[in-house]
Subunit: 402 residues, 2 copies
């Protein structure tokens, strides 16, 4: 029992509806309730008390990496999640195919073009020389999304994005500090890429028959990639990641965990939970801990869909938990943050937390939900504390002093 | 009631056995349970959440000294505990008498020679000149153990130990960083001492009749001694220490507490608990707080002896607590860490905590054990928070701001 599974249901925590129920408290989840009864519960705030965690920062902390020290920006994490071979010093961005019209961005998702279409357009802009010593590298990912990387010396992520999350703007980047020469050089390189990408896409034969050609790339989330010590280097433990979403795979890869690709793991309600569970059990053989991510709970929250979130939790309870129990290891269940249905956005409310296994002090919990967890024996864990508790649970925590 | 006793049962916290019991929850301890009923309970993690505390670092935090700032290494604390008169800048080590044979350490405890024998051998190596400006000073303590001090200018503790906790090695020290001149000088001084000690011990007439002569000293836990502000300087309180083990006395002396030697305080199951209790009551007259340490709970844990730990707790309840109650003061009972029977090692699980006295808000606790404490009204204290709560309890906490 010296291993652990960390199951994160994204955005799991919620606030009471008019009748006082949260999706978790209303869900039929006999397995999780039994684990609560046999284990202990508490609360978890991935980024400090009352703070609203992002999906990237929260997972860094969940893996034991203080986000204030290790967060590289969203771009590099997305790039790693898309298996882009980043090099030290690369500036990576999240990018979108877009439609440029009358001097402005007319549609920042290019009509949500398909993954297959995007792959065809991507070939025109795969690698462009945007300055004597700077290359721009592009890779499409899912639908209109992609990864843009600027590669060269003395580049800086301290520039404004060309994607401001709205239509109707001119995609132009400027340095955050006009005196910052590296940022100036980087903004110019990005602007040059924007221009060159437009020229290349204009030539694309796929655009010929289109009234609204897919003719622009916009970028945001700039960050510098730099290799950091792995969980094995820092804590002596090897971790595996089972997730559908690219970002979670990216964070895991960044901290040196092994990313296991699972067929049918989609990050949606239809995701193959049994396949994910089986992959987790298999990964336990060669790893000290396995992280399993379920995305749909968060997606339903953003859509304000109480029943959808409730049903996803019930589905996890029915299809995933019984498989994970075969791992014969400690099980930790929590959320990376709360995404209350009524807010349709991440919030700073703590996520419910459940820890089960032979080395857990039973605390008399009877259920797993926000209300029971607030009374749980684990108390309220913050930031990287959950990871350190996991290390202790599997006997891998290192002594401080002698 | 403006005074307090802090009773630390070493390694008190534990994990449930197959039937769900810990030694503390299974022990007969009517006094402690009554104190819990009349007071309040909670949890205490001496070194952060999930972290595994050492014996030295945990006690620094218990006395209000942030280990990250004040920890000098184990050597100086052991030396202070042995009443060695350290001077500013001394490099102190824990040392062992050992047997050197065929170019390697053959027995790193020299057959666990007796305290009396060791004292005789120590005379040959009490003070050696190992370099023009460096003296090596040796003092034996208990059995094969002793304290080694290098005294001189520009010395550094950043060197490898000559005792690596295993037999079969050549005792040779090197600087951790080859470019560090002070560390190089110190490693050379230590190696010279090793050589000179061998020469001196070889000559010892006590070794003449022996087949395996006691002929070497090996050292570890290097640290620089530097005087730090006392608890009186920092917090305006005078503390006394009642302990059997040298390390605990050493930490107390380091922070300027008065160390009271108690006849019969041995740090074992047979320790004279009544004598320790009486000494504590007496020390209360001239001190604001008195720290009482009980070691055997930890020793039984390291041996995996559930019954021994349980019986030691019952013995403390029966023999020590009634005496402490005569002090008419606040009483705090906790552990410096958990040492679960099933792990036979320190763990990062929080220790149970009990605070009793007139200025404590009763929290409805009915028992003193890991399970009740997880629900206690004090919540979960970390690091130096317990000490600050003690200061507040006795009305000595200083206002922050005005």
């Amino acid at each position: 029992m010296s291993k652990a599974i960390i199951l994160v249901m994204d955005g799991l925590g919620d606030l009471p509806d008019a009748k006082g129920y949260t999706p978790l408290s209303a869900a039929l989840k006999p397995h999780m309730d039994k684990l609560a009864e046999e284990g202990a519960t508490g609360l978890f705030s991935a980024i400090g008390e009352g703070m609203v965690p992002g999906s990237d920062t929260s997972h860094l902390n969940i893996f034991g990496y203080d986000h204030a020290k290790y967060y590289p920006g969203r771009g590099p994490l997305e790039a790693l999640g898309a298996n882009f071979p980043l090099k030290e010093g690369d500036i990576a961005f999240r990018a979108n195919f877009a439609i440029f019209d009358y001097g402005k961005i007319a549609d920042r998702r290019a009509g949500r073009l398909s993954t297959e279409e995007a792959r065809v357009y991507a070939k025109y802009i795969q690698k462009l020389k945007v300055a004597p010593n700077i290359e721009a590298l592009f890779q499409s990912t899912v639908e209109h999304r992609g990864v843009l990387v600027l590669r060269g010396k003395n580049l800086s992520p301290n520039i404004t994005p060309t994607d401001l999350h709205v239509n109707g703007i001119l995609p132009k980047s400027v340095p955050l500090d006009p005196k910052d020469k590296d940022a100036k050089r980087t903004a110019e390189a990005l602007n040059k890429f924007t221009k060159m990408a437009m020229q290349q896409l204009d030539k694309a034969k796929e655009n010929k028959p289109k009234k609204r050609p897919v003719n622009a790339i916009i970028a945001r989330g700039a960050g510098t990639y730099s290799k950091i010590p792995s969980t094995y280097d820092r804590f002596g433990v090897r971790g595996a990641c089972i997730a559908g979403g690219a970002l979670y795979k990216g964070v895991a890869a960044y901290v040196g965990m092994d990313v296991v690709d699972v067929k049918g793991a989609t990050g949606t309600f239809e995701t193959d939970l049994k396949a994910k569970g089986k992959a987790a059990i298999q990964a336990l053989w060669s790893h000290d801990f396995v992280f399993v991510h379920v995305k749909a709970t968060d997606s339903f929250s953003h859509d304000g869909n109480f029943e959808g979130k409730k049903n996803m939790i019930a589905k996890v309870d029915k299809e995933l938990i019984p498989v994970l129990l075969r791992g014969n290891c400690h099980i930790i269940i929590t959320g990376d943050h709360s995404t209350p249905i009524k807010r349709r956005a991440h919030s700073g409310d703590p996520a419910p937390l459940l820890i089960w296994g032979p080395d857990v002090r039973r605390d008399g919990s009877l259920k797993f939900d926000e209300f029971a967890c607030a009374k749980g024996g684990i108390g309220h864990l913050h930031d990287t504390e959950l990871f350190h508790n996991m290390l202790n649970l599997i006997g891998k925590a290192q002594m401080v002093g002698t």
